[in-house]
């Protein structure tokens, strides 16, 4: 796929890498085909808008057309005029969709318009949807099938479930469907590559995911006819589960890497950015074959605004591969230093000024969360005054959002009100962690933005807690001290050439020995610590740690609840500095501080009066 892989040793050739993402893509494409082929003849596809992006990453319109697709529509309320007898709905199991479908069927029936209805639900069928269809009186009219869409490759080293809002669903709503689907997807990885020899993680939900994975694995043996791999994987050395809730500091900071900044400023969804058409010149690369991907699934009849989608991918844009991980701190460090300063009262007054200026409400909420998490809560009086100003400025309808943040323990008063004091606290011992895990690095110590020698370069001096946790397992030395950059002091210019990174010293990968050496620190972080060794049924005499040094292994890092582009960058940096270990980044989805906050805001009302450059 990536035609432009240059020969520097930082890039990993697909055939060598531990996990072949193309195989996963093929799997997703094939099972889509199976689901569609179960309906004979030409068909009208009615597609869940939130699936358009993910599906565009595994297939394209031409392929669907070859397989009997006649026309495509968004799944949305309003009449549906399908030209074919077959109507196939493809969506996630959401109640609102079931209601729209029921509405279509009833209208067709009333008009004497005969169709054959099929509903393909992803990743699996749902009792809830059947129930709703039954309540709506149309269950008898429709055949329901599953389409098991799991990990979707975003890049060679990133796979994602593209499950939006997993964070909100798991931690605020208490709906652990995303966790269950994650376990199923990881099970598929185990089926392809063998058992994860070791599963590590931190936090209540990381533990639940690990246990679920093990239980599901033991149960699938009883299901006959499935290829089951019960041996321990030789390609993969471990699975590290990072739950988003365990590190809420990192996503609240403004991302400074190229791809992260784009996500901060415009938002990236399913590797695409949407920009006003006049900004984007047509992608005039000589990508004749890749052409289909960049216009994937874009031919839907409904086109809202004059916006153009542009794919950010190293496959379509060779320059992107070089730029995506560079720190663009020159643009101003924005929020990045907030973690250092926010604890002081002065900063909270400053926050009230920002509110008065009418700054983006998401920015304000991110800063409030940072202030609360980093300093272990805000003084009662200050918090109330801040919340009051916030509500007066952005509207009282945001009161539920503030309460959501409170119940997530992301916006707390210090001390807590009596009724909450006994709840299990998720309070992060930030001050202690900051020292023990070296979260804040002076610039001189961390190298320059152009010549980084520590992952803290991604936030110009802040090392993401989430990634430090991964390093505790997979790059222990880096937690204790920065890489020695003594021989590279000469290149202090503002060069943006990241290929220089390849000149940096590499370290041999050490065997995965769990949290060894960091147990004390890890235990100060709320939630259980996970360290499980899987031996498999035909466990070989040699333990997993005895792999020959020559052969590279892959560490799978799974982010439950989403990861940011910057975290991806930081893990890539780790990979560049390690000889003998690759990293596969797996996630429920790519998030940013704004997207996390957005998921907690009330659904946008259809009509909003805008006033005086108002609050947006």
């Amino acid at each position: 796929m990536p035609a432009s892989v240059n020969s520097d040793d930082t890039s990993v050739k697909p055939e060598e890498s531990g996990i072949d993402v193309l195989a996963l893509k093929e799997l997703a494409k094939r099972s889509l085909l199976e689901a569609l082929n179960s309906v004979n003849g030409s068909k009208t596809l009615v597609l869940d808008p939130s699936l358009v992006g993910p599906l565009g990453l595994v297939t394209d319109v031409a392929f669907l057309k070859q397989n009997g697709l006649d026309k495509m529509f968004w799944l949305e309320s309003g009449p549906l005029n399908a030209p074919t007898p077959n109507i196939v709905y493809l969506c996630r199991p959401k109640i609102k969709y079931a209601k729209i479908i029921a509405d279509h069927i009833r209208k067709h029936t009333a008009a004497g318009d005969k169709h054959i209805y099929t509903l393909i639900l992803t990743p699996r069928t749902s009792t809830l949807i059947s129930q709703v269809l039954e309540e709506e009186g149309v269950l008898g009219e429709i055949t329901i099938l599953p389409y098991n869409l799991q990990f979707i490759p975003l890049e060679d080293d990133v796979i994602s479930l593209e499950h939006e809002n997993a964070f909100k669903e798991i931690w605020l709503d208490g709906d652990e469907t995303a966790l269950y689907n994650s376990a199923q997807a990881l099970l598929t990885i185990q089926r392809l590559y063998g058992l994860f020899p070791r599963i590590l993680g931190k936090g209540e939900h990381a533990e639940r995911l690990a246990r679920l994975l093990i239980r599901l694995n033991s149960q699938q043996i009883t299901t006959p006819g499935l290829p089951v791999s019960q041996g321990v994987s030789e390609k993969i050395d471990s699975l590290i589960i990072v739950e988003r809730r365990a590190d809420m500091v990192t996503p609240m900071l403004t991302q400074l890497t190229y791809e992260g900044l784009i996500d901060e400023l415009v938002g990236v969804s399913n590797t695409y950015v949407e920009l006003p058409a006049n900004i984007v010149s047509p992608p005039s690369q000589a990508n004749t074959s890749g052409d289909t991907t960049s216009q994937a699934l874009n031919t839907t009849p409904v086109q809202a605004e004059k916006k153009k989608k542009y794919q950010l991918s190293s496959a379509t844009d060779p320059l992107f591969k070089e730029l995506r991980d560079v720190n663009f701190a020159v643009l101003g460090s924005l929020l990045s230093s907030t973690a250092k300063r926010l604890s002081s009262d002065y900063e909270l007054t400053h926050l009230e000024d920002l509110v008065a200026e009418g700054a983006d409400r998401r920015t304000i909420l991110r800063m409030m969360v940072l202030a609360s998490v980093v300093s272990g809560g805000i003084k009662v009086k200050q918090l109330e005054s801040l919340k009051r100003v916030f509500l007066q400025t952005y509207g009282y309808e945001l009161l539920p959002t503030l309460l959501s943040l409170e119940s997530l323990q992301l916006l707390q008063s210090n001390p807590l009100p009596p009724s909450q004091a006994h709840l299990p606290s998720m309070k992060l011992p930030f001050t202690a962690l900051r020292k023990q895990l070296r979260l804040l690095i002076e610039e001189s110590e961390g190298g320059t933005d152009a010549m980084p020698n520590d992952i803290s370069y991604v936030y110009s001096g802040y090392a993401p807690l989430s990634i430090r946790l991964v390093q505790c397992v997979a790059q222990m030395n880096a937690v204790l001290a920065s890489f020695n950059a003594s021989d590279s002091g000469k290149g202090k210019g503002k060069g943006k050439d990241v290929s220089q990174a390849s000149e940096m010293p590499k370290m041999n990968a050490h065997p995965i020995v769990g949290w060894k050496g960091f147990e004390d620190v890890i235990n100060t972080i709320p939630g259980p610590t996970v360290d499980i060794t899987q031996t498999g049924i035909e466990s070989k005499a040699q333990g997993p740690s005895l792999f020959p040094k020559e052969q590279s292994t892959t560490t799978v890092v799974f982010f439950l609840g989403g990861c940011t582009f910057t975290e991806i960058t930081a893990i890539r940096w780790m990979a560049k500095r390690t000889r003998g270990r690759r990293f596969m980044i797996a996630t429920t989805g790519v998030v940013s501080g704004n997207s996390l906050i957005e998921s907690l805001l009330p659904a946008a009302k259809p009509k909003t009066a805008k006033v005086a450059g108002g609050s947006s």
Binding site: L128, G174, D175, S218, Q219, I221, T222, K387
Partner: protein, 433 residues
Amino acid sequence: MGQTLKVLNAIRYYEIGIPMTYQQYTLLSPDQLLTRLTSRSLHLLALRIANYLSLKPDPILKHWACAKIAQTRPGGGLGTAGGSGESDEAVARGIIEKFEAMGAGAGSAGVSYAEIAKKAWESGRTGLATMLLDHETRAAEQVPLLLGMREDGRALEKAVDSGDTDLVYQVLLNLHKRLPLGDFFKLIEDGGPKVAPASKLLQLYARDQNREMLRDFFYSDDRRVDSGLLLLEEASTQEDISARFNSTKAAQKFFSEDRERGFEARMVEESAKLLALQQTLEKDVDGKAPFVGLSVSDTIMLCIQCGLSKRAERMRGEWKVSDRQYWWLKLRALTEMKAWDELDAFSKSKKSPIGYEPFVRHLVSKGYGKQAGAYVARCDPAKRGELYLSCGEYRAAGREFKEKGDAAGLSEAIRLCPDNLTKRELQGLLSSV
């Protein structure tokens, strides 16, 4: 061939008495033979043959277990063989031990404890069924039977344990259909933290499908904050203003009943008050400006823009808007209106609590650099050069930099300056620094 002969010999033995020919055997298939043996209750022989031929013992074990359950029925046929009236515990232990010894049951082969438990339950032995079910590891098998057995609490617990949200919904929807609402709620509340995830899923379902039920659920559980939030959510979708007002007031009542929710209660009260005020304001301007739905700040700004300055002042007092906040609002509103004279008068009305730098920066950010320049002189002298630069006032910036002897500032001004005449002037200044 030798294997087959051995098998045929074994079944022809006089105690068994199946005189089968080789041809019959090959036509029948070994599996069928085993079925015949099990239906004659010759389980031991069947097991041995299966083992000998490396066939799966599962169907035999299942048949055996079912037979054992039927045989050991308490109070069934006095004096019959097999120890009738064996306790549930003993039977369960017998079956489980046998299964584990044969390597069947959960963990490897296809016999599910759930199937056997179902048999036990069908023959009226609920206790035994429950014990057997405990050994079933697949919740998807366990749960439907537990529901059938009316073991509702356990069904819910097992479904939650499985982590499979769809299974939890199966149980919830089944129970909701079958039980009176009160019992249904009680089951969930009594389940405590163990079934908390189910409670959450129920709330999500009800939010979309059955709000009436959700209201009852929160009410029966004394969850005032949630009740209040539900009302606020409804208020936000109501088109009719008086309905919205009433929902908001009702929400306020819920919050005020919780001693720790004084802040929320106050905020909701303020929002009702704001709504009432906004209706009056709309009347005042003959519906020419849309006030309803705006925030306090936006309302104040719109008042200023509609020429209702007195109203704006009064709101400032009623809503305890701080001086700094108010100055910012007025700055933003007047900039939006391009009311430069008014802005100038306002800036001189008293000493600005936010200073004058915000005036410059805000005007520049809105593209009014020329107007912004007028406020630079009132800013901190150390910053004036840079501020003039941001306004595009290169000459003024140059003067400031020169005064401070700031060569770097001057160079920057030269770099940015678009017109050559000014540029030369600035270069002149630079050479004199």
